[in-house]
Structures are given as structure tokens and as C-alpha cells.
Amino acid sequence: MDNPEHKIWLEGVSKVLYTNGRPLPVLERVDFFAQDGEFVSIIGPSGCGKSTLLNIIAGLEEPDGGAIRFGGHDAPSRLGLAGYMHQKDLLLPWRTVLDNAILGLEVQGVPRSEAHRRARLLMGRFGLTGFESEYPYALSGGMRQRAAFLRTVLAEKDLLLLDEPFGALDALTRVHMQEWLLDLWESLKKTIVLVTHDVDEAVLLSDRVYVLTARPGRVKLVQRVDLPRPRRYDMVTWGEFVALKATLVRSLREESHPDRGAEAHIPGARELRHGSTEVPQ
């Protein structure tokens, strides 16, 4: 049941990929939506079709079955409707940070000077001030990822699709980036769909989290995250946070080790016991 508040809405989406001529069902009857301004994460065991789902939303791939609606309309051709960010920064090495950032505007035919003006306005917020004329090789991993994110935001789409954007970063930089993304998102008012394998990241950032089953991916659980906003990184020690995390981790573990089930000794449960003894401030 689509309604106009849904930025993106999928019903019964299935997808079969072919490897060496053999059919491999990767998605099976997936229902999914993200409301306007919502932050939604998708987690699941590796190979469950998370990225395929994101590619289908982006229009890079077409589903074999099911319906997709975009902003309340059927969307047979979706390329160019959503901003898309890959785990790799995909910065073009022959372009400066500034020229990489304006790639989307350039493709749309916005004059360079105007595109540069808009990009410069956001350089500070993306922690790139002073690096406008640097080439990507001169930047650290975190900065490259922020430059890639600036490129995504500057394309001026209401829906941003992020495919493990911080997956290639070290743990400390990743936490910085998550906090930074929280701030940014709360002021950008964009709809974000994030694919991640990091449960902390999903809980910390999202309004809702979709858990997919092992291949073929089906929706196993949709978990609402009712932590207050603005979120802060220290919430990861809150009892509610840990409880949510435990639910998601258990759900994921059932998929990775179906024989063990929920009774197994899992880190999430231990943290739950530990976490629940500490009353959040």
C-alpha cells in the first residue's frame, strides 16, 4: 500500500542473477519503503542481496518481478532520480576535489562557475575547506569518502542511497564519519537508505532497520529505532540501544548460523546484560 509520503516503495520485488548460466535467486518478494525524510538501513548476512536491492532502487538493475514506486509514481526508469554512493569513493583521479564534487551538476548541464559556487558553499560542512584544488590521491580515506559524499549530495536528489559508505574506513574514522553523517542528515532533510553490515551503525543512524535473510534475501525483520534525536555516539552504551542491537544481532545470527539459533552465546546478549545494569543519563 503505497502512499504519497513514501519516497520509495517496493512490493514483492524479486531478482535472479545468472552466474555461469546458472540461476541464482538473490531477492525474493521483498517489500520495502522509506518515507520522506526517513533514515532507513538494510542489514543482512553477506551475499543476501543488500547491494542488489540498492541497485534496483537506483535503477542500475531491473527486478524480475514486483512493483516499484518513486515519490508516489510508477518509476520504470529511475536512473538519475536518486543519489548513489558506493563503498569505494570512485573519485576521478584526474579531477580536483572541487571538480569531482560537481560531477552530478555538470552532467545535468549546470554551468561550471555556478556548480563551483554551490560546491564551495558546502566545502566547510564536509571538512574539505582548503582542499578544493587537491587531487584525490592527496587526501586521506575519510576525506575521500566525504568528497564522494559531497558529490552525492550536490547532485541534489531527495533520496540518497549509500552502499556501505564507511566500510573501507578504519574503526575510528568510521565513528567520526557516522557522527558527521548524523549531523549532516538532520540538517539536510533527505531520505537516506543505507546498506551496512555494521549493526551499531544501523541502530545509531536509522529510524528503521530492515534485516534481510540469507540468500535469497527476504525481509526477516523490520525494527523501528525509537532513540531520541539528535543522536549522539555515546548512545551506544544506552540500555535501549544495546537491547535493539541484541535483537538485530540475534536475528542476523539466526541467518548466518541457522542451526544454532538464538540460544547460542552471542556478543550482543552479553552486552545487553552488561548494558542494562547501567542506567542511561
Binding site: W94, V107, G127, Y135, L161, W180
Partner: protein, 283 residues
């Protein structure tokens, strides 16, 4: 919480510039070994020929060759001009035809399957066997030499450019598509810049072999050029002139190679810096 967390302060940045002294020292360290080998070889050559009283027509000393370069410079220069023209026009032709064919091969399965094998097979035919045919069909003059040069230098250009066009990261192409880019925009903004460093690699190889092509073309039949001059000097036992021509040809090849490298640095500066960065490691 700050909006731009820990950006400039925490993350390591650009490698510091080398000082002018260090740069001069490293330039010396780089050029000293080849230069000293050349000096040593010339010295041994000069000394051995003099001591053994090898006749001039058999093996002239470097100093005699140097003298020939100086005294016959007008003659040599005239023939150098002819050969250089053949090389440059042939290279231009090879570049134009090579890039067009490479784009065709990279984008069309049909062309790749039908034409590419023949491009590769053509390299197994010795150019020196084709040159006499060109003489029969086209005659003397500039054109058959230009064709020989183009034939010999066309191959590395095609192969490298095809590799370059195919080396494009499909994820980058997908990114462009999600930004709403047309196929033409993907081509001009991604594929062309990605393949340019490959095109330059191919051109550097092409430039080095192009001089050989011009000399072969001239040997088979011509009335001017350095190859012709070598053929003409041989029966006259003007061995020092043959050597002078060889010297000029190799200088020509090296100069063209260096110029290609300089143009490359100017046109695709990122390729150079990236390579250097990689050589320096992840520091």
C-alpha cells in the same frame, strides 16, 4: 559536536615537497650511471681501435664519427629532415587510425571479434617484407615510407588504447549512470581520461619503433633520407657516415620518446603523480 570532525588535524596529508638540493642531487644520481657508461664505452672504443690500428672503413673511432657529424652536417641535416617528416606523418596517421580503431574494438563486439585478430596477426608479418610491395604499388616518394612507419607504430597504439578503454571501473560507469549521465558523457568524462595514460604508453612504444620503420622504408627504395644515405655510403666505404646516420637516428628516437613523455606529463598529470605516489608507498 563539530560539523567537520577532526578533518585536517588528524588525517595525514600530502607528502612534503623535496628541497631543491635534494632534487639536484637525485637528478645527478639518476644521470651519472648512464653517462659514465657512455663515456667509458666511447673511451674503450677509441683506445682499442687506435691501438689495434683498425682501418677507418672497417670501424671508425668515435672522434672520426664526431668529425664526420661536424663536417657533413648540412648533408646530414637535409636527410634527417626527410626521415623526420616520414616519421612524424606516419606517427600521426598511426595515431589517428589507431585511436579510431581502438574505440571501435572497445565498443563493438563484432569489430572486436572480426578485426582484432587480424590487427594482432598483422604484426607477425615482417614489415621488411611488405615494404617492397609498397614500392611496387605506390612507387618512390614520401607515401610508402609513411605507410611503413604507420604500419609498424599502429599496433602498440591500438592494443594499449583498447586496454585503456576496457580498464574503466564498471562501478564508475554505474556512478555516472546514477548521476543521469548519457553514454556520450560517460565516454568523454570517464572513458577518455581513463584511457589517455594507456594511449601515451602505446605512443611511447610507437615512437621508438617508428624510426625503424622509416629506415626500412628508405632502404627498400628511396632517393633521400638517413636510410638512403646509409645505403649510399656503404659501397663507398664511408663507414663513419653510416655511423653518423645511426647516431642521428638514435638521437631522433630518444628525442621523440622524451617529447612524448613531456606531453604526457602535461596532458595527464594525474597519471604521473599517481604512479609516483604508488612508488612512494602508502606514506
Amino acid at each position: 559536536m563539530s560539523l567537520a570532525p577532526a578533518s585536517a588535524s588528524q588525517e595525514p596529508l600530502v607528502v612534503s615537497e623535496e628541497g631543491p638540493w635534494r632534487r639536484r642531487w637525485s637528478a645527478l644520481a639518476r644521470w651519472a650511471p648512464p653517462l659514465s657508461i657512455i663515456v667509458l664505452a666511447l673511451g674503450v672504443w677509441e683506445g682499442a681501435v687506435r691501438l689495434a690500428h683498425v682501418p677507418r672503413w672497417l670501424l671508425p673511432t668515435p672522434s672520426v664519427i664526431g668529425g664526420e657529424l661536424a663536417s657533413s652536417h648540412r648533408l646530414l641535416l637535409r636527410h634527417t629532415g626527410v626521415t623526420l617528416e616520414e616519421v612524424l606523418v606516419g606517427l600521426g596517421l598511426a595515431l589517428a587510425a589507431g585511436v579510431v580503431l581502438a574505440v571501435g574494438i572497445a565498443y563493438s563486439r563484432v569489430l572486436e571479434r572480426s578485426v582484432y585478430p587480424f590487427v594482432i596477426a598483422s604484426q607477425t608479418i615482417p614489415i621488411i617484407a611488405i615494404a617492397p610491395l609498397l614500392l611496387i604499388w605506390i612507387g618512390y616518394g614520401l607515401l610508402p615510407k609513411v605507410i611503413v612507419v604507420a604500419l609498424i607504430s599502429f599496433f602498440p597504439i591500438v592494443v594499449n588504447t583498447v586496454d585503456g578503454l576496457k580498464s574503466v571501473d564498471p562501478d564508475v560507469v554505474n556512478l555516472m549512470r546514477t548521476l543521469g549521465a548519457s553514454r556520450w558523457q560517460v565516454f568523454t568524462k570517464v572513458q577518455v581520461p581513463t584511457s589517455l595514460p594507456f594511449l601515451f604508453s602505446g605512443t611511447r612504444v610507437a615512437v621508438a619503433v617508428s624510426v625503424i620503420g622509416a629506415v626500412i622504408g628508405e632502404w627498400v627504395g628511396s632517393s633521400q633520407g638517413l636510410g638512403y644515405l646509409m645505403i649510399r655510403s656503404k659501397p663507398q666505404f664511408l663507414t663513419e657516415r653510416v655511423f653518423a646516420a645511426i647516431f642521428i637516428l638514435s638521437v631522433m628516437g630518444i628525442a621523440l620518446f622524451v617529447i612524448t613523455g613531456l606531453v604526457e606529463r602535461y596532458v595527464v598529470p594525474w597519471s604521473h603523480t599517481e604512479r609516483r605516489q604508488r612508488a612512494l608507498g602508502e606514506e
